[in-house]
Structure formats: C-alpha cells, structure tokens
Amino acid sequence: MSEPQTALQGATAQGFVTVSEDGLHGMISLRGDLNDPKLKAAVAKLTGAEVPAAGRISWKGDRGVAWMSPDELLVIGPYSSAGKDALVLSKALKGVHHLVANVSDARAVFRIEGAGFREVLAKLTPADVSMDAFGIGQIRRSRFAQVAGACWMLEEGSARVVCFRSVAGYIFGLLEHAARSGSEVGYF
C-alpha cells in the first residue's frame, strides 16, 4: 500500500516569516441546516467543538469546525480517520437533509508563522487581515492572487492558509515570494 503524501512533501521557506506546508488534514465538507439540533449534535459529538458562528472556526484538541457558508461547514480532523468520520456523520444525520463529503485529498494547508504573517497574507488577498478584522478563532474565505483559498487563525503570531491541492505549488510560490526577507512593508 502506498503512503499518502502531501502535495509538496512538507516544503518550507524561511523569509521574514516561515512558510511551510502542513501535514495531511482530514477534511469533511458538511452541508445542511446549521441550526438543525441533530446536525449540531452530530458535529459536537464527533469533534468536541461547537458549530461556529459565521466567519469563525472552533477547535478542540486535534479537531475543528470551520464556517464556510450559511449552509456549509468544514469538519477538520486527523487525516487517517476522515473516511470513517464521514460515515459517522452520515449515520448520525440519517433522515436530515444534508451532504457529507470527504475532501481531504483535495486540499493543501500551509503554516505562516512569525510576527509578519499579516503582511504576507495582505500582499496576496483583498480580505481585511488587520487585527480588528482577522483574529484568533476566525476564518476568512477569499482569494490569494488568482486562486481561491481561506485563512484561519488559532493562535497569536501565525495563520494557516488552505487551498485546493491542485494549486498547492502556486500558493506555496506566492507565499514564499511574499515572505522574502527585505520585502516587509511594515503596515501592520
């Protein structure tokens, strides 16, 4: 059996912040009525995290739930159990109008670590990533240069960027370039 690999095999780049490809994530796309008690309970039971409010991401241990749209969540967890977790969700939501899809292999995740992480994001996305608009517990879907992506923040001084696996190389190139030493803007 072949071993699952990340798109860029953990590529890293050191500039005024560190950009590195994160490991594999389990990612399950869940669509349905986010106010449905059964859906809320199923998500809470699987992840231990609450269904987040609009624009937010909740996290507990190695699992999280991100708000993607008024009827869509991204359920994040260990890569190895994503297939099983998707089945658990499906079963728990039997009889409730919903959609569950394991999209783990369609994604790539990057870590942007260091004091200047907002600078790197702001060079690439039109989203407001200032402290007032983008803080801990928030996720923002937007675009990075020419492709769709999202960024979230779970701790001070770093952010994650998630994109489609097919554009992982493009995104890494953007991030690495935007993070090059000497290219600090000093805006934030």
């Binding site: 609009a54 749209s69 608009a133």
Partner: protein, 107 residues
C-alpha cells in the same frame, strides 16, 4: 475599488472576490407571457447613471448570491441585503431618499 458587505459572511468583500450578476428585482416572465414582455425580461435593463440595484455573488467567499444598492456614478454603496428579498429593505430605501432626494424610487 468597490467593497460590498456580504450579508451572510458579514465581511467587506472586494469587487474581485465577487461575481456580478446584473440588475436585481427583475420580474421573470414565463409561460403565457407576451413576446414583448419576454424581450423586456431578457434584454432590457435600466442601466442608470445613479442609484442602481444589483445582484452579486460572493464567489470567492460563501458562494451565495446577495443584492446591493449603490450609485453607479459615485460607487457609493447604500447597503446590501439577502437575495431572497422581493424589494429593497425599507432602511436602505429611506437612506437613498435622504441622500438622493431626486431619486424616483426603486421600481
């Protein structure tokens, strides 16, 4: 640069995160409509110089359609509201009336 607040995400979305969907509040003609009514529905648009109501989609965000009231000349945005609205919210209408006293109404 045009910034519209997505009523679902609650964030200021840049024009480049959005997909434009043309004029809002069109009446969709259907079976039994006259040819002239179909022509009006398919091809005729207000295209005003001033207050305008438009459909936009938060394409790079939540993916949802919403509606916006803005001035096509100054790019001033009066407000955004959910796509499930048959007409602009009263508050937006009042705001436009206040700012553009010569505005003839949305319909």
């Amino acid at each position: 640069m045009l910034l519209l607040e997505c009523p679902y995400c609650g964030v200021a979305a840049d024009e480049t995160e959005l997909a434009a969907g043309g004029e809002a509040h069109l009446k969709r003609e259907t079976v039994g409509s006259l040819d002239a009514e179909f022509e009006e529905y398919l091809f005729m648009r207000e295209n005003p110089r001033g207050v305008h109501f438009e459909r936009w989609r938060h394409a790079y965000g939540c993916g949802k359609w919403f509606l916006a009231a803005r001035d096509t000349m100054t790019l001033e945005v009066f407000g955004t509201y959910p796509a499930q609205s048959k007409k602009p919210p009263k508050a937006i209408e009042n705001l436009i009336k206040k700012k553009r006293p010569d505005w003839k109404g949305w319909a």
